[in-house]
Amino acid sequence: MSNETTSAVPSGLPRGGSDPRASASYTLTGVTKTYQKGRRTIFALRDVNLAIPAGEWLAVQGRTGHGKTTLLQVLGGLDQPDSGSVTFGGRDLSQLRERQVTKIRATSIGFIFQTFNLVATLSAAENVEAALIPLGVTSAKRRRLVAAALDSVGLADRAQHLPSELSGGQQQRVAIARALVKEPRVLLADEPTGNLDQDTRDEIIGLLEKLWRDRQLTLVLVTHDSSVARRAERVATMVKGQLKMTDRL
């Protein structure tokens, strides 16, 4: 983890009307999600019941194609379950309109992807700034928040670099800065170290752990890597769409 990192990010960002950050806990009840593959029905999630208290770090493990990413997408409101309910901060996401879910994503949920998903044509600073656009933050304030976010991940000097000019670890740091610049209460990370070498992996996980602690984030981290999963408070395993709580560290 970089010594340059700080936890100080300016606050004062817009809040939603009912402020879903008031409680960043999840409750999943009987959540099922299926896909059609030809004539076969694939259960991505099968009757998943899960409670994630606010501020918890939950690691989700499992083999490829067993529903880890689908679980993360359902938690992030990117997908709707076929049945069951996903309650976030006391609100059932499946009952909300798309616009309301979009607003919750904009204000309260940060995403980190395995392949970073940075916009290739935008600089590091502009990629981070993109997360503030839905919040209607003024340009001057955006610049200040972006600078602080990049500083917090140790990339203040790479603000104007394009993603193609950054290493994999640096790109993931930019993605973390983008996820955290809006001060979310929840961070959903999908294999954040999957494309990184071991040293960089440790660096990124260290950074995430620090940010989780400093900001009291609810962190759901999907990973193949048991060494990464072991650093979480709780570990769950997805097997053919079913969730099994395997351990509490």
Partner: protein, 474 residues
């Protein structure tokens, strides 16, 4: 502003695609602008020809055919000669191809609804001939007859009539005081050919007329040689063209839209009359001008439409392809909390920027195309029906470009003096001007194409589900 920053970055980083879309739109728009300019140029050229045939301000002309009973074909009719044993000299004003129209008919036309003004005129042919006697052999001193076109014009009515498009070169025009005077206005070509000037004297129907002015008519017309006051023409013309009688009525409609209606009303009023307006006259124009006109209005228009559709299709397909390539990017933006409408706006902004570039390129291509067409266009000609004759005829032969036929049998009665179907070719100057309207239309089409492409891209974005967009991630 982030919108513009993102826009600029996208256009910069995906320059090749932006250039292809803008170039596609630009080519389509350029072709539209060029074809529009060509059409405009052809219309202008056609208008010049028609205007010169017709006269500015005159919308409709009315004539009647010669009735055989009126004597046109008889020995006592227009210009008929009765052969005799001795040499005969003749100088007569006749109306070989147009029948008489009474002054009451002119008045009736002028009172029709949507008629702004109507004026009568006499379009005549002066025939000067020396006919040998029947008992005298043809000799080398035989002189062919001379035909001369003479028009009797209403004085003080320059705005409507045969002189309305004329440009005064020297001297003066007719005034109301000239109504009964033996004064004439000459066409400049005739005056030059016969070395006549203001103050000279010309003889019409054995009557000397003092030249008071020289005029030129627009290119494309076949103007008469001599203009004399209508009353004097009526007095000198033979066979039924007496006082108050004319053989051409010039009509000005109240509006361009009323020309057709007025033409039909005149046809109802005078069933045997030939009513000619710009539409019917345009049909008589042939030659390369007419060919170009048809090309511009048919092939050119279709070519422009096809090019435009192709440009729109290329822009739309490339935009859809670009959206497909950026699915993950848009999915990520949705994950960040961007609304679909905001992403649509971004896509739309990019295509509109390309549309603006395409419009600029298209206008430039259009200007270049129009310039090249103007410079490379071969000289065009219009073949138009001859309206007046001013040539020397020959017995039984066609006389020169004017095409007047003076047929008959030597020693026998001469029955026909002019060929109403005669044509002549006039050169038409051509240029393809790019009008402001064409530029506006080009820009609007380019932006419209960009909007169509952007809308299709936006539609694709709206249908994009974030989970599907990010599917390749996990």
């Amino acid at each position: 502003m982030f919108f513009l920053t993102y826009l600029r970055r996208e256009l910069q980083q995906r320059m090749r695609q932006a250039v292809v879309i803008a170039a596609g739109l630009g080519l389509g728009i350029g072709l539209v602008v060029t074809v529009t300019a060509l059409s405009s140029g052809v219309r202008t050229a056609e208008g010049k020809v028609l205007g010169s045939l017709y006269g500015v301000g005159t919308d409709i002309t009315v004539t009647t055919p010669v009735q055989p009973a009126s004597g046109a074909g008889g020995s006592g009719g227009y210009g008929g000669f009765t052969p005799g044993p001795n040499v005969q000299h003749t100088d007569k004003l006749t109306s070989p191809t147009q029948g008489p129209i009474s002054s009451s008919a002119v008045t009736a036309i002028s009172r029709l609804h949507d008629v702004a003004a109507a004026s009568g005129g006499l379009t005549l042919t002066e025939i000067k001939a020396t006919l040998p006697g029947t008992n005298q052999p043809l000799s080398g001193s035989f002189q062919p007859p001379v035909q001369l076109s003479v028009v009797g014009a209403q004085v003080g009515r320059k705005a409507l009539g045969p002189l309305n498009a004329a440009h005064r070169k020297s001297g003066r025009e007719f005034t109301a005081a000239d109504a009964n005077a033996d004064v004439a206005v000459l066409d400049s070509d005739y005056a030059t050919a016969h070395r006549l000037a203001v103050g000279s004297v010309v003889t019409v129907a054995n009557t000397p007329f003092t030249v008071i002015g020289i005029v030129t008519q627009p290119q494309g017309s076949s103007p008469p040689s001599i203009y004399i006051p209508l009353k004097r023409a009526q007095a000198l013309a033979i066979a039924g063209l007496g006082a108050g009688t004319v053989n051409t009525v010039y009509v000005e409609a109240a509006s361009a839209a009323a020309v057709g209606t007025v033409s039909r009303e005149i046809s109802r009023l005078m069933p045997s009359a030939t009513v000619t307006n710009s539409g019917t006259l345009a049909k008589s124009v042939a030659g390369s001008l007419a060919t170009t006109s048809k090309l511009a209005t048919t092939f050119g228009t279709w070519l422009a439409v096809l090019a435009l559709l192709a440009a729109f299709a290329v822009a739309s397909l490339l935009t859809l392809a670009a959206v497909a390539r950026r699915v993950r990017e848009f999915g990520t933006l949705k994950a960040l909390g961007w609304r679909s409408s905001r992403i649509n706006l971004q896509v739309m902004g990019e295509t509109i920027a390309m549309g603006i570039a395409g419009a600029a390129l298209g206008v430039a291509i259009g200007f270049t195309g129009a310039l090249l067409a103007s410079q490379a266009a071969p000289s065009m000609t219009a073949t138009v029906s001859t309206y007046n004759t001013n040539t020397k005829g020959g017995f039984g032969g066609q006389a020169g470009a004017g095409g007047a036929i003076f047929s008959g049998t030597i020693g026998g009665p001469m029955t026909t003096f002019a060929n109403p179907n005669a044509t002549h070719q006039v050169p038409v100057p051509f240029s393809a001007p790019v009008s402001d309207a064409a530029i506006v239309v080009g820009v609007a089409l380019s932006l419209g194409g960009a909007l169509v492409a952007g809308s299709l891209g936006g539609w694709r974005v709206t249908r994009l589900r974030p989970a599907e967009a990010l599917a390749s991630v996990g």
